[in-house]
């Protein structure tokens, strides 16, 4: 799982190993990350991207997916 911006500070690196439950959804992932890294909850918001697309909470994740944590964007 890739991390960018402040997420790198929170996870201590630009990529982290995560264990996905079977039939895990984006929402499951978020809950499990927030338990392990409570600082995530202090962000204004964050999104999960799967294979370069923003993923809604119900998206099912597989181990072949490229998953990234997208903290609030600030480009431009």
């Amino acid at each position: 799982m890739l991390a960018f911006g402040i997420a790198k500070d929170i996870f201590g690196g630009s990529s982290v190993e995560v264990e996905l439950p079977e039939q895990g959804t984006t929402q499951n992932l978020k809950h499990s990350l927030e338990e392990r890294y409570p600082r995530l909850k202090h962000l204004v918001s964050y999104m999960v991207a799967v294979n370069n697309e923003y993923a809604p909470d119900e998206s099912l994740l597989t181990e072949k997916d490229e998953i990234a944590i997208i903290p609030p964007v600030s480009g431009g």
Binding site: A68, V73, G75
Partner: protein, 139 residues
């Protein structure tokens, strides 16, 4: 191809962006140039550091460009974004749009920068003398 999207860690070239969007049918070119400002909330900014999730950022910028083409009669549209360390006065982003008439050029250009700032996975960190902050991450 009438859309050009680029992310680069090298200084951007404003004139070449303008040159690229001009067509013989163009009556107006609108260009947005982002620049690094020296103060945020009263604190002096030493530099900005930009980071991109490159593959997704390119994809999202393409979507924005296509949306602009759907909404306005745009001829050519260009988005260049720079990553890495930028000093005050340097240029992190250029958006250039060409249209037959100026109204659409103004509106499309505005739409692109406004939407980019909401959806494109690029982040900037402000570096001050006494610390650093990822912009907009915390309330």
């Amino acid at each position: 191809m009438n859309i050009q999207i680029k992310i680069s860690d090298q200084p951007l070239n404003i004139q070449s962006c303008i040159d690229w969007v001009v067509t013989p049918q163009s009556g107006g070119i609108d260009v947005f140039i982002g620049t690094v400002r020296d103060v945020t909330k009263g604190k002096t900014v030493l530099r900005l550091e930009f980071e991109a999730y490159e593959a997704m950022a390119l994809k999202e910028m393409h979507k924005i460009a296509e949306q602009a083409f759907n909404k306005w009669p745009v001829q050519k549209l260009l988005i260049h974004h720079r990553t890495g360390v930028l000093k005050v006065g340097e240029v992190p982003v250029i958006i250039a749009v060409s249209c037959a008439h100026r109204n659409a050029a103004f509106e499309a250009c505005r739409y692109v920068i406004d939407t980019l700032k909401q959806t494109v996975p690029i982040w900037k960190k402000e570096v001050f003398e006494d610390g650093e902050v990822w912009v907009a991450a915390h309330p």
